[in-house]
Symmetry: C2
């Protein structure tokens, strides 16, 4: 039997016959049920993949769910993403399901069975990547998915929404240069995240374009948390040729930098200017209020949710959407001590 | 026909016969489906209620959902509650569905049909109350529910989890009195929320017990937001006999109070001590870091979710659980200027 047919779609019955199992067993595997042996599941998943099986799109479910999956639900920006998805879901009479799973890079193995059982109308993944086998399983069940990717490392074959990290790094650094700073440090994010590298490259470009020297001892990779920002900043501030400004790759790191400055008896912004990244709520409430690069997290999530729900699903859309970042100038930046405002000496 | 029977439970067939409709119509109503006319739905709901119909408890669903319903998903403490529910859900292989609906007091009418269709294993409501008709509809579908009630105004017949608002108000005020403050203002929450009144009464008790006069012009009802806290505080600080300390009924209000102080050239805590309420993340990151009353929001949500999932549901449990609040002393409180620490002059 030629299960793939020529132009016709493979059916459940054909997959079942080829696998030598009942249709109900294939159906159980499609629905993420646990009562099928692992070897049989594997065999059926392979056949589904080889023959490009796609579940017929269902009628609109009575209680549609949009699933959003995080590695770290209590990341400070998670709520912004949830609010974006919730706004779009509400407009479509859908509810939002939250799942916390996996590592910073991709969801855990236990997640896939759950989502196959829940059968959401779509999945928003807050991860850089999705294992190939998950993609295949979601596609064969006709569950569309979009990656929201603040980390900036999307895979080419997955629809994703990110923001302009390089431009953000450039804008933050330019702002400091325009204030007259020349010794500018950067504490970017973790070394294994593309967003960290993009922001660092934006910093480098701004420095180089302005004819400023890049001192490798003023470049650090942080962990996006307060403590890491504080530790790296202390290291930089203890140098005899300390920087007069530090661009921190997240608002929390920036708060850590201000703590380090205070611990060394330096005032922000008089003795040290600080720029954050993200513009989460703490940026407004820190004292001094933080100058930062705004990531449009809520809009990113809205865009992702809309991609899911568009007719034909997200796969027909552009595979990568990148929303603009913008600099929000507050009170943590100023010209360096001993210069007037906007004195540019280069 | 005696549809209620004597000791036997009323069946779907009996309700259908009494209503003069098919069993499938009754079933549609039970499942929140929209394709039944409003008068028929109403008639069936009434019969379900009159005869105390309870859907037979189902076998464990394949993709169990716990639903959490908020009025305001972006309330600053919403994430803490979500994390508490998520932790318990994860332990039980369940997922969390978020819904935003209604007013501060109860969910909106559109919510009930959605939840009947989704059929979660239980519902956590972040509201003070639930309309009687909603309670009846959830009970007839055997969907257990618990109210998480930071507002402190539970109904007697609904299982709920709150925290000790009166004790929180007492502890905050006592702390200020122990530092030697005598002119202490309070900006509590909205006048129509019991938590506001309980915190205010705690303040009154602390003042009275210490033999201090309560000045009505130093009592204000706020809105739990920064701007409201700022406006009320300016009013108090502009008096010739201004307070040396203000207890704000939320952390955001407390931040507003510190802004008002700064706007009037007063330092926190040297010239004005400030105590917040909630201990959300901004309390740690504000400068100075905020002395505040900690509400155990995550634990409250965990307790509520566990009540839902216990065998027999929450109705058999104590109807009201109140978790303790605790004072977290940080940097926004100090003895009033001109006194040493812990000078008690009363």
């Amino acid at each position: 039997m030629d299960v793939a047919g020529e132009s016709s779609r493979v059916t459940l019955a054909q997959v079942a016959e080829t696998a030598g199992v009942s249709i109900s067993t294939v159906s159980k595997v499609l629905n993420g049920r646990q009562d099928v042996s692992a070897p049989t599941r594997l065999k059926i998943e392979r056949l589904l993949e080889v023959h490009g099986y796609r579940r017929t799109t269902r009628a609109a479910p009575e209680a549609p769910l949009i699933e959003i999956v995080f590695h770290e639900l209590d990341a400070i920006w998670a709520m912004e993403l949830i609010l974006g998805v919730e706004a779009v879901a509400k407009d479509h009479g859908a509810s939002v399901v939250l799942t916390e799973s996996g590592t910073r890079h991709s969801p855990g193995a236990e997640w896939i069975d759950g989502v196959l059982r829940r059968r959401p109308v779509g999945v928003i993944l807050v991860f850089s990547s999705l294992p190939q086998v998950f993609k295949q399983q979601l596609r064969s069940r006709s569950i569309p998915f979009v990656i929201i990717d603040p980390a900036g490392d999307p895979e080419p074959d997955v629809p994703s929404v990110g923001s302009a990290n390089w431009s953000g790094g450039l804008a933050a650094t330019r702002h400091l240069i325009e204030y007259g700073h020349r010794r500018i440090g950067i504490i970017t994010g973790p070394e294994d995240m593309m967003c960290s590298l993009a922001r660092l490259d934006g910093y480098r470009s701004a420095m180089t374009t302005a004819g400023l020297e890049i001192d490798p001892s003023l470049i650090a990779f942080g962990d996006f948390h307060v403590e890491g920002g504080c530790a790296h900043a202390k290291h930089m501030l203890d140098r005899s040729d300390r920087p007069t400004a530090i661009f921190a790759g997240s608002d929390l790191q920036a708060i850590g930098v201000m703590e380090a400055a205070a611990a060394r008896g330096l005032r922000t912004p008089e003795d040290l200017s600080v720029v954050g990244y993200d513009d989460v709520a703490v940026a407004r409430w820190s004292r001094p209020a933080l100058t930062t690069v705004r990531q449009p997290l809520r809009k990113m999530a809205e865009a992702g949710a809309r991609m899911l729900l568009r007719p034909g699903g997200p796969e027909g859309a552009a595979t990568r959407m990148e929303l603009a970042t913008s600099l929000v100038v507050r009170k943590s930046t100023a010209p360096p001590a001993g210069t007037g405002p906007l004195v540019q000496t280069y």
